[in-house]
C-alpha cells in the first residue's frame, strides 16, 4: 500500500521546483504547497499515476497577516490506498484567483462556488460561478474573510443599526463608518450574475415545457431546499437545485468561539447524527493536541456513534417511505416508535435527545450509567427482529419493487466520478467505508461487514440502510462484551490554547464520508474549520440523477438519499 512519503517523493521527482513546504504527519496525511500554475498538472498526475481518484473537496483559508489566501484541495482515493493529500495553492489577497478543477473533477463545482462566494477567490475557467448558499444581498461582502464585521455585530454592539424597511419590517444593518467610506474599503460594486430564476428559465425552449417547484418547504425532509424540475409532460428534462435556506455560517461562527465551545456547534450541523459530528471535530483537535484516548472512552464513543447511526437510518427510512407513499404516515410511525427506544438509550448516557455535546477532547463527558449494558441487551434483539422484519417485508413486496427498481440507479464508475460516498456509493457496489479505509478508535478490532448493493438504485439504497443497522447492532454487541474498566478521559490536562498546526480527520457519518479540516494558529480559538459534509457531496449528484425520470420518481430519488439539508448548508 502506498504511504504519504512515497507519494511525496513521487511528486517531487515528477514536478521538481513546483512543490514547497511538504509536511508528512503520518502514513496517511500529506500537506504540500503547489505552484498555482502547476496545480492542474499535479492533480492530473496524481489521479492517473498515483490512484488519487477521489476529489474530496476544497477549503479556502484567509491568511490576513501574510496578506495571501489559500485554497486547499483535498485529494484521496476510493480504496486504492488511504493517503489524504492536501494540496495548497496560494494566491495574493488583493485579487485572489486560482485555476479551476471543474473540468477534471465534476464535483469540484459546488466546492469552488462556495469558496468563491465566501472568500471572493476567483476560479479561472469555472463555467458557472454563481452563489450557492448565500442570498443575493450578502453576495460580495465575502463573509468568511477575516476582516468581515459580522451581522449584526453583537460583540461590539454599536454598529448594528435598526432600520425600518418600506414594508414596515425591522432589519439590522451595518451602515459604513465615515472612515471606511474615505478609505474606500466599503463594498460598493457587487458581482453581477444571473439570478437562480433567470438561469433556470433560460432552459425553457418550447411552450410544452414548464418549471415545477418542489419546495423549499418540505413536510418530510428535516430542512428546506428548493428543487426545481423542468418538465415536459410527466418527464423531468432537467433539475435545478438551490440550497442555503438554512445556511447558518457555522464555519465562521466556530472561528469566534473557544475550542471547547465549538463542540456544541457541531451538534447543530447535522442534528440527526450529532455524535459522529462531535467525533469528527474532537478527533481533529486530538490530532493537533497529540492526545491518546483511553480504551474505555473509545468503546463508549463507538457504542454511542453506532446507536446514533441506527436512529439516523431509521428516521431516514421513515422519511423515504412517507415520500413514496404520498399521504400515508403509517410506515413513518413504525420507524419513529422504534427510534424512540434508541433515543432513550442515548439519552440515558448523554442526557439529551438530539444535541448531545458528549464527545470531549481526549475522552467522553461521562461514563455509562449503571445498568446500561442490560438495557442495551434488551433493546437490541428487539431492534434486530424488527429490522429483519422490515427487510423481509421490502424484499417480498412486488409493488415496492416495481416502483423502486432501476429508479435513480447509478453505476459505480459514475458514482466515483461524481465524488459520492456513503450508502449511495455502497449501493452501487463499491465497498468504501471510512471505518475500514481510515480506521479510528477501536474499529480495527471489531468484526463487521461493509454492506454493498448491486444495482445502485433507490431500492438498493434502502436495503443497504436497513442491513447497515444490523451491522451496527452487531458492533454494539461486541463492544458491550469487550468494554474494559478504566478512565474515560485522557490524563493529560487539556490546554486552553491548542498548538499551531493543521489536521484532517475523517469519520463515517450515517450519510457518508465526513471530514473536518481544522487549522490552529496557536490561539484559544480555531483559525479555520472546514467541514467536508457528507450530504453536501451526495446532494450534488441529485440533479443529474433526475434527468429523464417521472415526476413521482423524482421525489423517491431525493428521499432515498436520506437528506439532511442542514448539514449541507451548515
Amino acid at each position: 500500500m502506498t504511504n504519504a512519503n512515497e507519494v511525496l517523493s513521487s511528486l517531487q521527482s515528477a514536478f521538481p521546483g513546483a512543490l514547497s513546504d511538504p509536511r508528512v504527519e503520518s502514513d496517511t496525511r500529506l500537506w504540500v504547497t503547489v505552484d498555482s500554475k502547476k496545480i492542474r498538472d499535479v492533480c492530473k498526475y496524481m489521479t492517473d499515476k498515483l490512484g488519487f481518484d477521489h476529489y474530496a473537496g476544497s477549503a479556502g483559508v484567509d491568511w490576513i497577516a501574510r496578506n495571501e489566501m489559500e485554497v486547499v484541495e483535498i485529494m484521496t482515493s476510493y480504496g486504492a490506498h488511504n493517503v489524504v493529500a492536501m494540496l495548497k495553492v496560494k494566491t495574493p489577497r488583493d485579487n485572489p484567483s486560482v485555476p479551476s478543477l471543474v473540468d477534471m473533477y465534476w464535483n469540484a463545482n459546488w466546492y469552488e462556488r462556495e469558496t468563491w462566494e465566501m472568500f471572493g477567490i476567483n476560479f479561472e475557467g469555472h463555467p458557472e460561478l454563481y452563489p450557492l448558499l448565500l442570498s443575493d444581498p450578502l453576495v460580495g461582502v465575502w463573509p468568511w474573510r477575516k476582516d468581515f464585521k459580522g451581522y449584526p455585530d453583537l460583540t461590539t454592539g454599536e454598529r448594528a443599526v435598526q432600520i425600518t424597511t418600506p414594508e414596515g419590517y425591522t432589519e439590522y444593518r451595518f451602515p459604513p463608518t465615515p472612515a471606511e467610506v474615505e478609505a474606500g474599503t466599503v463594498v460598493t460594486e457587487r458581482p453581477k450574475y444571473p439570478t437562480f430564476r433567470e438561469r433556470e428559465e433560460a432552459w425553457i425552449k418550447s411552450d410544452s415545457e414548464m418549471i415545477m417547484h418542489l419546495g423549499p418547504q418540505h413536510a418530510m425532509v428535516p430542512g428546506p431546499f428548493l428543487l426545481d424540475v423542468l418538465v415536459e409532460g410527466e418527464r423531468v428534462k432537467k433539475a435545478f437545485l438551490d440550497i442555503g435556506y438554512i445556511h447558518k455560517g457555522i464555519e465562521k461562527i466556530m472561528e469566534n468561539r473557544t475550542w471547547l465551545q465549538g463542540i456544541t456547534y457541531t451538534d447543530r450541523m447535522c442534528y440527526v447524527a450529532s455524535l459522529t459530528n462531535n467525533e469528527c471535530y474532537c478527533g481533529a483537535v486530538e490530532r493537533l493536541l497529540g492526545l491518546e484516548v483511553p480504551l474505555r472512552a473509545q468503546y463508549i464513543r463507538v457504542i454511542l456513534e453506532e446507536l446514533s447511526r441506527i436512529q439516523s437510518h431509521l428516521i431516514g427510512t421513515g422519511e423515504f417511505l412517507t415520500l413514496i407513499a404520498g399521504v400515508g404516515f403509517a410506515p413513518w410511525q413504525y420507524m419513529i416508535i422504534d427510534r424512540e427506544k434508541i433515543i432513550s438509550l442515548i439519552e440515558s448516557v448523554t442526557g439529551a435527545r438530539l444535541t448531545h455535546s458528549f464527545v470531549r477532547f481526549g475522552g467522553v463527558r461521562n461514563d455509562l450509567p449503571e445498568g446500561f449494558a442490560d438495557h442495551c441487551r434488551k433493546v437490541l434483539p428487539y431492534m434486530k427482529s424488527r429490522i429483519e422484519e422490515f427487510i423481509e417485508f421490502f424484499a417480498q413486496d412486488p409493488i415496492y419493487h416495481a416502483r423502486m427498481e432501476n429508479i435513480g440507479s447509478i453505476s459505480p464508475e459514475t458514482a466515483k466520478k461524481m465524488g459520492c460516498a456513503g450508502r449511495v456509493l455502497r449501493a452501487a457496489g463499491v465497498p468504501y467505508d471510512m471505518r475500514i479505509e481510515d480506521p479510528i478508535l477501536v474499529y480495527p478490532e471489531l468484526d463487521f461487514k461493509v454492506i454493498t448493493g448491486t444495482r445502485g438504485d433507490s431500492a438498493d439504497r434502502i436495503d443497504c440502510t436497513l442491513r447497515e443497522i444490523l451491522e451496527s447492532i452487531h458492533i454494539i454487541e461486541q463492544c458491550l462484551d469487550r468494554i474494559p474498566a478504566g478512565p474515560i478521559k485522557s490524563e493529560t490536562k487539556i490546554p486552553k490554547k491548542v498548538p499551531a498546526g493543521e489536521a484532517y480527520y475523517r469519520v463515517e457519518d450515517p450519510r457518508g464520508e465526513m471530514g473536518m479540516y481544522v487549522i490552529s494558529d496557536g490561539g484559544d480559538k480555531p483559525y479555520r474549520v472546514k467541514v467536508r459534509g457528507p450530504f453536501y457531496a451526495t446532494f450534488q449528484t441529485l440533479t443529474p440523477l433526475l434527468e429523464g425520470v417521472y415526476i413521482a420518481d423524482a421525489v423517491a430519488i431525493a428521499g432515498s438519499m436520506d437528506g439532511c439539508p442542514s448539514e449541507s448548508d451548515r
Binding site: 451581522y151 413536510a219 425532509v221 428546506p224 445556511h247 447558518k248 461562527i253 419513529i336 416508535i337 444535541t355
Partner: protein
C-alpha cells in the same frame, strides 16, 4: 344596512317577520347581511364560546421542519407523543393549517419564503416560536445569515424555550396556546 343593500333581487318579506328580533336586533338585518355583521353578532352571544371551543380543539399545524426543533416536531406529531390527542394534527400544506410552528433557524434567504407560507394560511391563525434560534437567534446570535428578531416579522403567540425543547414541552406550549384561544387573547382579532 338594509336588505336591498346586500341582496339586489327583490325579496318578499312578511310584515310580521320584520317585528321579530334576535339578540335585540331586527331579524331581517341579521339574516341578510355581510360577514362583518355576522361576526359582530357572534360577539354578542354565548355562541362565540362554541367557536373558540372548536378552534381550540382543531389546531392543525404546518409540518415545516427547519432545524433541530423540526426533528422533535416530527416526533411530537408521530405516535410516541401523539399530538392528535389534542386535536393537533400535522398537515403538509399551509392552506389547511391554523398554527405555524417556527421550528428553528430563520435565515435571510428563507424569510421571504416563510412569509409567503404564513400568508397562505387562512385566518384565524396562530404562531408558535420553538427553540432558542427562533426566539432570539440562540447559539447563532452573531451569525450573518440568521434573523434574530422573529417577533418583528410574525405575531408570535407562544414561545417555547429549549435547544431543542423536548416533545413534552411542545405539548405544554400547545396547551398554553389552546388556553389562549379559549380566552380570546390571541393577537389576531376574533
Amino acid at each position: 344596512m338594509g336588505i336591498s343593500d346586500v341582496i339586489p333581487v327583490p325579496v318578499c318579506i312578511d310584515e310580521e317577520i320584520e317585528k321579530w328580533t334576535i339578540f335585540g336586533q331586527p331579524v331581517t338585518e341579521v339574516w341578510f347581511t355581510t360577514t362583518e355583521k355576522i361576526h359582530e353578532i357572534i360577539q354578542m352571544g354565548p355562541i362565540k364560546n362554541i367557536f373558540n371551543w372548536g378552534r381550540k380543539n382543531s389546531v392543525y399545524f404546518l409540518m415545516q421542519p427547519m432545524g433541530c426543533c423540526g426533528v422533535e416536531m416530527f416526533v411530537f406529531g408521530a405516535a410516541p407523543y401523539d399530538s392528535d390527542r389534542f386535536g393537533c394534527i400535522p398537515r403538509n400544506t399551509p392552506r389547511q393549517t391554523d398554527v405555524m410552528i417556527i421550528s428553528g433557524y430563520l435565515t435571510r434567504k428563507y424569510l421571504p419564503v416563510f412569509k409567503n407560507l404564513w400568508e397562505n394560511m387562512p385566518e384565524p391563525k396562530w404562531c408558535i416560536a420553538i427553540g432558542e434560534c427562533a426566539i432570539s437567534g440562540g447559539p447563532f446570535y452573531d451569525s450573518y445569515n440568521i434573523i434574530q428578531n422573529t417577533g418583528d416579522y410574525f405575531p408570535i403567540d407562544v414561545y417555547i424555550p429549549g435547544c431543542p425543547p423536548r416533545p413534552e414541552q411542545f405539548i405544554e406550549g400547545l396547551i398554553n396556546l389552546q388556553e389562549k384561544i379559549k380566552q380570546r387573547k390571541d393577537k389576531r382579532g376574533y
